[in-house]
């Protein structure tokens, strides 16, 4: 188990290094203009630009520049080209909003996804199952930002309701009730896609498990149907959901919430990334990508362990 842990962790660190290097290459090899020129502004002289190039070490070979950037990222002194603000600081500022959004949405989509999956599996083939399937498919077919716009239009902009605030994020520490009310729409909008998806995955898992021999045995023993469902069927069917949830949650924290954050103007890490990319501001993109990859890699290690713990059949030897 320790060897397994060590191998996974070394792999994770290697992936992080590779990802950061590739991100760097994308923006050095495919430049959308010289950053020095952008910082210097329109009226800059050649001497100004040369000066900035020297100050930012833009004349060094790219691997030296890369190394310098990684060093400053880890000691927190990395500055944005566009706004000259501290990248690590800006990411830290965005984390509460992003985590509030993702954790809340995660709870909603996991809870309702499981509920929907159980209901449609138990009533498989009947009207409720078909209706749920239809809604689930519509849910996974909607662009999340469009759903966000429509939700704002319907519930926050007075067509026909106006009982919810129209975007923006209020910190939990400054006003818990306003925090909750402001996040209500973003949570649901982000969760809808996953509820449909999880419901369908769980439904097919349950239907697969329900035909297993040990479930028949449990029924034959005379166990009540509910107990068989919870103790025997669900216990096994939920394992893939746990894996899925870990990976999806990491993906959402690590950037998949970009669209939701942008639509609701939540000022989270995702929105910071979207804004920096539009300015082709390399340091923040590096910072956010490393942050996002860290979440994804970290959660995939966690999921591996959780999986091994839940399902002894795949435990590493």
């Amino acid at each position: 188990m320790i060897a397994f842990l060590a191998r996974r962790l070394i792999g994770a660190v290697l992936v992080l290094i590779a990802v950061s290097f590739i991100t760097y290459l994308i923006f050095v090899q495919i430049p959308g203009g010289d950053p020095a020129q952008r910082i210097a502004g329109r009226t800059a002289t050649d001497a100004n630009i040369a000066d900035i190039r020297a100050k930012l070490h833009l004349n060094d070979p790219f691997y030296v520049q890369y190394w310098g950037m990684m060093q400053s990222l880890f000691n927190g002194s990395l500055k944005s080209y566009a706004s000259q603000l501290d990248v690590v600081n800006e990411i830290k500022k965005g984390i509460p909003a992003t985590l509030s959004l993702c954790i809340g949405a995660g709870i909603i989509w996991l809870g309702f996804g499981i509920l929907v999956g159980i209901i449609s599996a138990v009533t498989a083939g009947r009207m409720s199952d078909r209706l749920i399937t239809v809604f689930a498919l519509i849910g996974i077919s909607m662009p999340v930002f469009w759903l966000g716009l429509i939700a704002r239009y319907l519930f926050a902009q007075g067509h026909p309701f106006q009982f919810l605030p129209d975007g923006e994020y209020v910190p939990l520490t400054s006003n818990p009730w306003q925090w909750f009310v402001h996040l209500l729409m973003p949570w649901w909008v982000l969760a809808v896609l996953f509820i449909g998806f999880y419901g369908r995955v769980l439904r097919s898992n349950i239907l697969d498990t329900i035909n297993e021999d040990y479930v028949r045995t449990a029924k034959a023993k005379g166990l009540p149907a509910n107990r068989v469902l919870v103790k025997h069927v669900l216990r096994n069917s939920l394992i893939p959901i746990v894996t899925l949830f870990g990976l999806d949650f990491a993906a959402v924290v690590g950037g998949s919430a970009i669209l939701t954050e942008t639509v609701f103007n939540l000022h989270g890490v995702g929105q910071y990334a979207a804004e920096s990319t539009q300015n082709l501001d390399l340091p923040p993109i590096m910072g956010v990508t490393i942050y996002a990859t860290f979440f994804i890699v970290f959660f995939s290690v966690v999921v591996d362990f959780l999986y091994a713990w839940l399902d002894p059949r795949i435990r590493p030897t």
Binding site: V15, A18, V19, I22, T23, I26, F27, Q29, I30, P31, G32, G33, L137, I138, I140, S141, M142, P143, V144, F145, W146, L149, I150, R152, Y153, Q157, H159, L193, F197, V201, L244, D248, A251, G254, G255, S256, I258, L259, T262, V263, A273, A274, T277, Q278, L280, I285, V288, T289, A292, T293, I296, V297, S300
Partner: protein, 358 residues
């Protein structure tokens, strides 16, 4: 319509079924069996029809633009008027009193349906462009990107999976690490970063020249970031197929690696590939919409469903149709592909676990 032939694969299988009843026993290919299962799934077929209808309608965009709307997709009509039920209507209101009612300036005209003789069926945008025309041309772009990137992505994923699965060893190691790497990247972030970087000056390396604003940029970006989502499961399938006796038999007969890969392995993963292909078009249309919404996909003034929503979002209160209509187009297209893909999966392999993660 009865046909004499019972051996050909025809859509009209009634004759063939009748032959079956009279005791003629034939071998049936897995594809034929799958088609029979699919044929009974009316919902899936109805949604396939919906998708085909959407594609055909979008393909007719130039005809519609020339003969019905009399306006190109990027043609602005600021300050112009059109006739509605005999009255002159400003396409984008200049503000002031119109027929005794105060109208704020800059508000484009709303959906006219057929009251304006085919013009402005879905209204205008803030530059006076015909939304219905832009919707159809945007549909062409969204579908081109969705289908094109699905083709490229599936092609590369299949090739990489074949190489990794067939050769194993270090080839497999390299390809798997490549998959791992893209997998670990935040997909949307990577796509946005690439899309933005490429959309500024285009791409001019390795003899490939893509102009700025080319549709190839979002197409290639989307196909690249989604390769592992298709490649990984296919590699797994090939690894297990590789150990089957028929591969051993082919190799023993002196079949070259290429022959084994393309005539023995490929047909066996074809059904998964087909399902993946259908579902990934749906996924890619959504991804394109997201990228374009953030400004990293299709570049102005070219329309796509995503850019149309992005253009409409600031005017959702005064001109809600601008954002709502393209969204409905996306939902219908993606839904039709998802439902059909689902039916296809059930038909090809009722127990298959092919799945696209969004």
């Amino acid at each position: 319509m009865a046909t004499e032939s019972t051996t050909d694969f025809t859509l009209d299988t009634a004759a063939e079924l009748a032959a079956g009843e009279h005791g003629v026993i034939e071998g049936k290919s897995p594809w034929l069996l799958a088609w029979r299962r699919l044929r009974r799934n009316y919902i899936a077929l109805a949604f396939l029809l919906l998708f085909v209808v959407i594609v055909v309608i979008c393909a007719l965009a130039p005809v519609y633009a020339d003969h019905v709307a009399h306006s190109g997709p990027n043609e602005g009509h600021l300050g112009e008027t059109f006739t509605r039920d005999g009255k002159q209507v400003q396409i984008v209101s200049k503000g002031g009193f119109v027929n005794g009612v105060f109208v704020a300036g800059g508000i484009p005209v709303g959906p006219q349906l057929w009251h304006a003789g085919g013009r402005y069926v879905f209204g205008a945008d803030n530059l006076g462009r015909d939304v219905a025309v832009r919707l159809l041309y945007g549909g062409i772009n969204s579908l081109k990107i969705g289908i094109g990137s699905a083709l490229i992505c599936t092609l590369f994923a299949v090739l990489l999976a074949l190489l990794a699965g067939y050769y194993g060893g270090w080839v497999d190691w390299v390809i798997s690490r490549f998959f791992d790497l893209i997998w670990a990247f935040p997909v949307l972030l990577l796509a946005i970063a690439l899309g933005t970087a490429l959309s500024i000056n285009g791409f001019h390396h390795f003899g490939i020249n893509l102009a700025q604003g080319s549709l190839w940029i979002p197409t290639l970006v989307i196909s690249y970031v989604l390769i592992p989502y298709v490649g990984r499961p296919l590699r797994g399938q090939i690894l297990s197929l590789r150990e089957k006796e028929f591969i051993e038999a082919a190799t023993a007969q002196g079949a070259s690696p290429l022959r084994v890969m393309f005539t023995e392995l490929t047909p066996n993963i074809a059904s998964s590939v087909l399902v993946f292909f259908t579902l990934i078009i749906a996924n890619n249309i959504l991804t394109e919409a997201g990228l374009s919404f953030l400004g990293a996909g299709v570049q102005a003034p070219n329309p796509s469903w995503g850019t149309l929503i992005a253009d409409g979002q600031d005017r959702i209160v005064t001109a809600p149709w601008l954002a709502i209509i393209p969204g409905i187009a996306i939902v219908l297209t993606v839904l039709s592909l998802n439902v059909f893909g689902d039916g296809l999966r059930d038909a090809l392999d009722p127990r298959a676990k092919v799945r696209i993660e969004h």
